[in-house]
Symmetry: C2
Subunit: 230 residues, 2 copies
Amino acid sequence: MFLSLCRMKNELSQTEENYLKAIFSISLSRNKAVSTNAIAEKLKTKASSVTDMIKKLSEKSLVDYQKYQGVLLTEKGKKIAIRIVRKHRLWEVFLVKYLNFSWDEVHDVAEQLEHVKSTKLTQELDCYLDYPTHDPHGDPIPDENGKIAHHSDTMLSSIKEQESCIVMGVKDSSPSFLKYLDNANIKLGSVVCVLEKIEFDDSMHIEIGEKNLSISHQISKNLFVKKTQS
Amino acid sequence: MFLSLCRMKNELSQTEENYLKAIFSISLSRNKAVSTNAIAEKLKTKASSVTDMIKKLSEKSLVDYQKYQGVLLTEKGKKIAIRIVRKHRLWEVFLVKYLNFSWDEVHDVAEQLEHVKSTKLTQELDCYLDYPTHDPHGDPIPDENGKIAHHSDTMLSSIKEQESCIVMGVKDSSPSFLKYLDNANIKLGSVVCVLEKIEFDDSMHIEIGEKNLSISHQISKNLFVKKTQS
DNA sequence: ACTAATTTTTAGATATGTCTAAAAATTAGT
DNA sequence: ACTAATTTTTAGACATATCTAAAAATTAGT
């Protein structure tokens, strides 16, 4: 018996899945071929390891690859990547909704849960959670067919003085940022009014839930918002 | 960097965890050192692979091992094995209770979920499920400190004519057996009355929920029961 | 107690995924 | 356009976990 179980069942290893996810995630921002270095940085590994893995994924027709030219996911690869993102975000919803996790705690556990293989599990979880469209950070959850509701792309930093908006998601979901938001009582759905913008450092004064607050540019440029229709 | 992530965090690989679980499971029935062959058979691998892994586990003080003499779990190893069993069974309860899995479908998925590492996850899941004491097959779920409620050890086959009992668990939890039970409407908690025992083939006629049924010895010797106090 | 059968271990390979260091190709600066 | 800097790939190792085949130890039969 020379084939591993993964190969026999046509299943991917966790590592392979993580590479696909990383390539998918990077190609969302820059829309051209993804560089070896970018993948290495994302996965905290070395470029040489990435080259090796890319060759393997290329042989499985999950990525299009030409030496020195970076990679792009094939349709097949993209489908798998989206399926993993879907599972990751569904589990995040589950952890927050039912298991008392806060939004800064879910990531590491969801990173593990996303690799559990069972179509029924994903479907039933989706149903149990009542088909959520967004995860606890406001990121959209792909549906069963891989369709992704597109994200708000307006940042709080671009809102003008005296305008109001609703917090739709976070661009940075590092625990430190999320804890800051918790502390400032900024949540998904919070209504924010921009009172004053300081030209000097791009910070702004905002009103949120009866309270006034000063936030740095670093904060405002990491919050996705939707302008309120007035 | 020569140490893998697992080693740095003092975490075990899924394979190592599966070996501990297998050794634990085997040592429950025969209470002496567990043979290399028995482990190999349980894990569907080769004796030589088992020897290699045992050496590794022995170096980590998870098993006591002497060449040619089989292995026993150390306290530390046993603790870890029990923790994995606990996680496995909690997930089984979750899958049946909330995700519409039947008792013959849960095993493979739970085998994957049991390796997810997060103390908080296990604790919160336990709480969410309302601290169940038994999994869907009637097997006891170890508590947070590793205490295991001991299992009923009476088999239906040992019940005398005209005596009644309650189904407490299954010894064999293969899908085919579980599907048979579903079909015959035999569940955990079902009240069974033994009407007649056939000496020739050890089969028996039973009454279950207003209906009469004939079951083979193969069935009756795989059902754990508790005699009803009358 | 001595052979025979079985079990267990060792030795040497294979496959996956990683790394370092050096070579090759690409991109950027003048 | 030509060097210099950067990026990417190759080559060779290493660690984990597996296997086959052969050797060693144990157990069982007479």
